[in-house]
C-alpha cells in the first residue's frame, strides 16, 4: 500500500467529467493505494504544505499542449521532490524542457522522461533545498567561479558536494552530469536564432591573454635559400623580383621555342595527328615543337623529368616533362581568351 498524489493543473478542474475519469483511471491502476488530489497552484503558492517523504508517486495532469503551458516553477519541483519517498516517481504531463530543473532539485530523469528520486540520499550529489522556505540560496547551491563579467550562468558541478569513494556513485554522478549538460543542446535549429541571449562576441577579445602562446621554431635554411614569398599586396619589392624572374624565364623559353619551332617538322605533325584522334583537340589548341635535341645542354639529367625535379633556374621550368630526344607537346588548349 502506497500514497499517491494527483496533482491537477487549474484548467483541468473546470471539466468535471475529465476529473472523474482521471480519478477512475488512477484507482484502476493503483488499486491498493491511497490517492490524494491537489491543484498544483496551491502547492506552488505555498497555500498547503505537503508532508515530507510521504508519497510514492506524484501524477501531474495537465492536458495543455506546449512546453510553456506545462512549465513548473523550480521551487515547486523542489517541494514535490521533498514530498516523495526515496525511489519515488513524479510522472504524468511533465514539461520536457525542464529536466535540468528536475536534476537540480535532486531528481533523476529516467528513459521514459519520468522524474525519480534516488534510492538513498547518499547518491544525491546535487542537493538543493527548497528555496521557497529558506528564502535565500542554501549551501547546497552549485558554486561557480567568476570568470567573466559577461558570464552570468551557474555551474553544473557542485564542488562542495561530499566526495564518495563509491565508484558507482561516481559513475552515476558522471552520467547525470552528462545528461544535465546535454539539456543545453537543443535539437531544433530554430533555437539558435531564437530568443536565447547571446554574449557580445567582441567582448571576448579583452579576455584573451598572450600567455601560453606557441613561439615558432626559428626558420633556419642552411642553404640560404629564399624563404619568404611575396604577399598579395607586396610593397617590399619581392613581388617585382619574382615577376622579373618569371619574365626572364619566359623570354628564355620563347627564344628557345622560337628556334625549335623551325624544326617542328613532319614528325611533329604526325604526333599531332595521333593526339588529335585520342584527345580531340581543335587544331589550334596544339602546338607541337621538338626542342629537346638542341635545347638540352646542362646534363643534370633531371630536366626531362618535369618541374617537380628541375633545378632552380632550369630553362625548362614551366614546361611539361619529356623524354630526352622526344617531341614535347605544349598544349595551348584553352588559350583562346
Amino acid at each position: 500500500m502506497g500514497n499517491i498524489l494527483l496533482l491537477l493543473h487549474p484548467t483541468v478542474v473546470t471539466d468535471e467529467g475529465f476529473v472523474t475519469s482521471i480519478q477512475q483511471d488512477i484507482k484502476q491502476t493503483y488499486k491498493d493505494d491511497e490517492v490524494t488530489q491537489h491543484i498544483i497552484d496551491r502547492v506552488a503558492k505555498g497555500a498547503l504544505t505537503l508532508p515530507e517523504k510521504h508519497y510514492n508517486r506524484v501524477v501531474y495532469v495537465n492536458p495543455n499542449e506546449g512546453e510553456h503551458n506545462r512549465e513548473i516553477p523550480a521551487s515547486t519541483i523542489s517541494t514535490i521532490r521533498s514530498c516523495l519517498v526515496d525511489g519515488g516517481v513524479f510522472e504524468g504531463d511533465l514539461p520536457k524542457n525542464q529536466n535540468l530543473d528536475a536534476i537540480m532539485a535532486g531528481f533523476l530523469v529516467n528513459d521514459e522522461g519520468n522524474w525519480i528520486t534516488p534510492q538513498s540520499e547518499a547518491v544525491v550529489s546535487i542537493p538543493l533545498k527548497s528555496k521557497k522556505k529558506e528564502g535565500t540560496a542554501s549551501k547546497g547551491l552549485p558554486q561557480f567561479k567568476k570568470l567573466s563579467s559577461a558570464q552570468t550562468t551557474v555551474g553544473l558541478t557542485d564542488t562542495s558536494a561530499p566526495n564518495t569513494d563509491d565508484e558507482n556513485d561516481d559513475l552515476n554522478l558522471k552520467r547525470k552530469l552528462q545528461e544535465t549538460k546535454l539539456t543545453y543542446f537543443s535539437d531544433s535549429e530554430e533555437d539558435l536564432d531564437g530568443a536565447d541571449q547571446i554574449i557580445e562576441e567582441d567582448d571576448l577579445i579583452s579576455e584573451v591573454k598572450g600567455v601560453d602562446l606557441i613561439v615558432p621554431k626559428k626558420c633556419e635554411l642552411p642553404n640560404g635559400k629564399r624563404r619568404r614569398r611575396a604577399c598579395k599586396d607586396c610593397t617590399c619589392g619581392l613581388k617585382e623580383l619574382e615577376e622579373a624572374d618569371e619574365k626572364k624565364q619566359r623570354s628564355l623559353q620563347d627564344s628557345l621555342l622560337g628556334k625549335m619551332a623551325a624544326s617542328a617538322n613532319e614528325e611533329a605533325m604526325k604526333i599531332e595527328d595521333r593526339l588529335k584522334k585520342s584527345i580531340k583537340f581543335a587544331e589550334e589548341d596544339l602546338a607541337e615543337i621538338d626542342f629537346t635535341v638542341e635545347g638540352k645542354k646542362g646534363g643534370c639529367g633531371s630536366c626531362a623529368l618535369g618541374d617537380a625535379f628541375r633545378c632552380d633556374g632550369c630553362p625548362y621550368l614551366g614546361l611539361p616533362p619529356f623524354k630526352p630526344g622526344e617531341a614535347v607537346s605544349i598544349d595551348n588548349f584553352g588559350e583562346d581568351i
Binding site: 555551474g155 552528462q178 541571449q197 567582441d202 615558432p216 584527345i279 625535379f309
Partner: protein
C-alpha cells in the same frame, strides 16, 4: 588500429587553408596511432562535445574584419549563448591553432574569441595554443610544427600507455569510399552537364535554388585586359537586401575532366558507371547531384576540385599510390612524399603555389606511375566550394545581378591560369539553368543618431557591386539623405563599370559621384583614398556632424588599409582630435556598424 581517445579536430576555414592544417593534423595523428574525428565547426553534432570528446582541437582562420569563417559561425552562435554554464565543457582539454596575418588590425580574432569563450565554458588545458602569423619569417608552418609537437607531448602525458610512434609507410584505412557498379549500364552525363548540375537542388535541399541566365555581358571594353561580367539571373520569389551575396556552384570544364581521365586510364572503362559514396562523406555545400546521375564523370565534373592548387593533405595521400617498383617510380614517390612534408614547405610552395599549378597538372606530370584507386577519390581530392558574389541590384523577386571579374593570368607555366568559377561563368549562355543560393549579410545602414544617415561608399573595381544595389534601393525608397560614391578604376573608356548609370544619377542630383582613374594621365587623384583626402572637408562634415555610415568594398590588400588610414587622418584634421582619439572614434564606428568593410 589507431587508438580511440576521444579526440575531436574541428576547423573553421574560408579558403581551405585552415582545413588543410586540420587534415594534416588528422592524418599525422593517425600515423602516430591516434584516431580522431575531423569536421568543420558547423558540421559537428554539438552533443558529441559532451558524449564523445575528451580532447578538443580547433583550427580556425580569421576572415574579413576579425570575423569567423562561414563554416564556423553556427558553432560560435551556440557557444555564445548566455545561459550556458561555466563548467559545461569541464571534461574537455582544449588547444587551438589560429591562422592569421599580423598586417591586419584584427589579427587572429576568430580563434581568440573561440578560445576565450571555450575557457569560460570550462575547457581545460591540453597544450599551448598558437596564433600563426603568415607575416612572420617562419610562416604558418613554423607555428604548426612547434604547436604539433606541444600537442603530441600533451597527449603523451595524458596517455602514458600509448606508444606514439610515427609510421607513415602504411596507407590508412579509407574513411570514405567511392563504389562503382562496374557491371551496370553506362549513364551518359557528358552531354547534359548543365542540366545535371541543377539536380543538386531538391526538396530536401532548400539551400540552393534553380535560376536561369537572363544575361551574361562583358562590361569592360573588348580591348581591356580584364573581362568583367554583368551576370543577371532570373528566378522567382527571391528575397534579399543590399549587402547580401549570391553563392554560385561552378562545374569543371568537361575537357579538363577528360584530361584527368587520360592520366588515370584505369578509370576510363568505369567513368560512366553508376556510383555511390559510403562512409564519412565530405561536406558538399549546395547539395549533391541526384544519385540517378552520379558517375565518376559527373562527380568529377560537378563536385571535385581538380583545378585548385594542391594542398599538403593531397600529397599526403597520393604518394601511397605511386608504383615504386621501378627507379622512376621510386623517385616519383619520394618526391611526392617530400611535398607532403611540413619541413619541405618551401619545395611545395615553389612547385605548386608560386606557379599556381593545378591538381590536374600535378597528376598529369606524375601519370606514368601514379594510379589512384577509384574508391579513394574523395579522400584524395578536395570538393569544389561555392563562390560568393555581392549582389549588384535592388531587392527584387525575380532578378538578381552580379558583377564578376574573370580571373585569368599567366605564371611560369605556359598554360593560362583561369579561375574555375569565372571560366565556368564565361561558358554560361542566356537561358542556361544554374543553381545558386542567397546569403544574408544582415547589413544595416542605419545609425542611432539620425534616421537615414548619409552613406559614404568607397569601392574600386568590382567592389562597386553592392553599392549599386544600395544606391538603387535607397533611391527607390526615397532614402536619399545623401549617397556619396567614391569609385575607382583604371581608364575612363575601358573599365569604368556602370558609368552611364552613375553619371545619370549624378546629373539628376540623386548621387554624389566621385570617380577616379589610376591610369588616366590627366586624373590627379589616382586612387579612392586620394579622392577621399581631396574631399576631406566634406567627408569630415559627413562623418563627424551627420553620423554618416562608411561602407568600403573591394579587393583585399592595400586599399582597405589605406582607406582606413585616410579616414583616420581626415578625422584628425577635421575633428581636431589626436591620432589615438581618431583611432578610438573609428573603432567605435566599427562597433556601431558605421564603418562597414567587405573585402575579398
Amino acid at each position: 588500429m589507431p587508438a580511440q581517445i576521444g579526440l575531436t579536430i574541428l576547423y573553421g576555414s574560408e579558403t581551405g587553408n585552415a582545413q588543410d592544417y586540420a587534415e594534416l593534423l588528422n592524418r599525422r595523428l593517425k600515423y602516430y596511432g591516434i584516431s580522431s574525428t575531423l569536421t568543420s565547426l558547423n558540421n559537428y553534432p554539438l552533443k558529441n562535445l559532451i558524449t564523445k570528446t575528451k580532447y578538443l582541437i580547433i583550427v580556425c582562420s580569421t576572415t574579413g574584419q576579425g570575423e569567423l569563417p562561414r563554416n564556423a559561425k553556427k558553432f560560435m552562435r551556440f557557444i555564445l549563448k548566455k545561459k550556458l554554464p561555466d563548467d559545461l565543457f569541464n571534461h574537455i582539454k582544449l588547444t587551438t591553432f589560429g591562422l592569421g596575418d599580423s598586417s591586419y588590425p584584427k589579427f587572429n580574432y576568430a580563434i581568440k574569441k573561440i578560445h576565450a569563450r571555450l575557457l569560460q565554458l570550462g575547457c581545460g588545458y591540453l597544450c599551448e595554443r598558437a596564433e600563426a602569423d603568415e607575416q612572420s619569417p617562419e610562416g604558418s608552418d613554423g607555428y604548426y610544427t612547434s604547436w604539433e609537437s606541444a600537442l603530441i607531448n600533451g597527449l603523451k602525458k595524458d596517455n602514458p600507455k600509448l606508444p606514439f610512434i610515427y609510421d607513415d609507410t602504411q596507407l590508412l584505412p579509407a574513411e570514405c569510399t567511392v563504389k562503382v557498379a562496374t557491371d551496370r549500364e553506362d549513364i551518359l552525363t557528358r552531354e547534359f552537364s548543365k542540366g545535371i548540375s541543377c539536380t543538386r537542388a531538391s526538396m530536401e535541399n532548400s539551400d540552393v535554388r534553380v535560376g536561369k541566365i537572363y544575361s551574361n555581358k562583358r562590361i569592360t571594353s573588348t580591348d581591356h585586359f580584364q573581362d568583367v561580367r554583368h551576370l543577371i539571373i532570373q528566378s522567382d520569389s527571391l528575397s534579399f537586401s543590399p549587402g547580401d551575396t549570391v553563392g554560385l556552384y561552378p562545374s569543371n570544364d568537361e575537357r579538363d575532366v577528360d584530361l584527368l581521365f587520360e592520366s588515370q586510364p584505369h578509370w576510363i572503362p568505369y567513368a560512366d558507371k553508376p556510383l555511390s559514396i559510403e562512409g564519412n562523406i565530405p561536406e558538399f555545400e549546395g547539395g549533391v547531384l541526384d544519385s540517378k546521375y552520379m558517375t565518376l564523370r559527373s562527380l568529377f565534373t560537378h563536385h571535385i576540385d581538380i583545378m585548385s592548387i594542391p594542398r599538403r593533405a593531397f600529397f599526403m595521400q597520393i604518394y601511397h599510390f605511386v608504383d615504386s617498383s621501378t627507379e622512376d617510380g621510386q623517385r616519383e614517390k619520394d618526391r611526392l612524399k617530400e611535398f607532403s612534408n611540413i619541413d619541405e614547405s618551401e619545395e611545395l610552395y615553389n612547385y605548386a603555389n608560386r606557379p599556381r599549378r593545378s591538381i590536374l597538372e600535378v597528376i598529369s606530370e606524375f601519370q606514368n606511375n601514379l594510379r589512384i584507386p577509384m574508391e579513394r577519390i574523395l579522400e584524395v581530392f578536395p570538393v569544389i566550394k561555392p563562390r560568393l558574389f555581392s549582389i549588384a541590384s535592388r531587392p527584387d523577386k525575380n532578378m538578381v545581378e552580379l558583377v564578376i571579374a574573370v580571373v585569368e593570368y599567366k605564371t611560369i607555366l605556359r598554360r593560362v591560369r583561369r579561375g574555375l568559377c569565372t571560366k565556368w561563368i564565361k561558358s554560361l549562355n542566356v537561358n542556361d539553368k544554374i543553381i545558386f543560393s542567397l546569403h544574408k549579410s544582415n547589413l544595416v545602414f542605419e545609425s542611432e543618431a539620425t534616421q537615414d544617415p548619409p552613406i559614404i561608399m568607397i569601392s574600386p573595381g568590382t567592389g562597386v557591386a553592392p553599392m549599386k544595389a544600395l544606391i538603387e534601393d535607397s533611391i527607390d525608397h526615397n532614402k536619399t539623405k545623401g549617397l556619396y560614391l567614391f569609385y575607382g578604376c583604371r581608364l575612363k573608356d575601358k573599365d569604368f563599370l556602370f558609368s552611364e548609370f552613375f553619371t545619370r544619377l549624378s546629373e539628376e542630383d540623386k548621387l554624389h559621384f566621385f570617380p577616379c582613374f589610376s591610369r588616366e594621365p590627366d586624373c590627379k587623384t589616382k586612387y579612392v583614398q586620394h579622392k577621399l583626402f581631396s574631399e576631406r572637408e566634406l567627408i569630415g562634415e559627413l562623418i563627424l556632424n551627420q553620423s554618416a555610415i562608411v561602407y568600403v568594398c573591394g579587393s583585399n590588400g592595400s586599399m582597405p588599409r589605406e582607406v582606413r588610414l585616410t579616414i583616420i587622418d581626415i578625422i584628425v584634421r577635421q575633428g581636431g582630435l589626436n591620432e589615438s582619439q581618431a583611432n578610438a572614434y573609428l573603432s567605435s564606428m566599427e562597433n556601431n556598424n558605421r564603418y562597414i568593410q567587405e573585402t575579398w
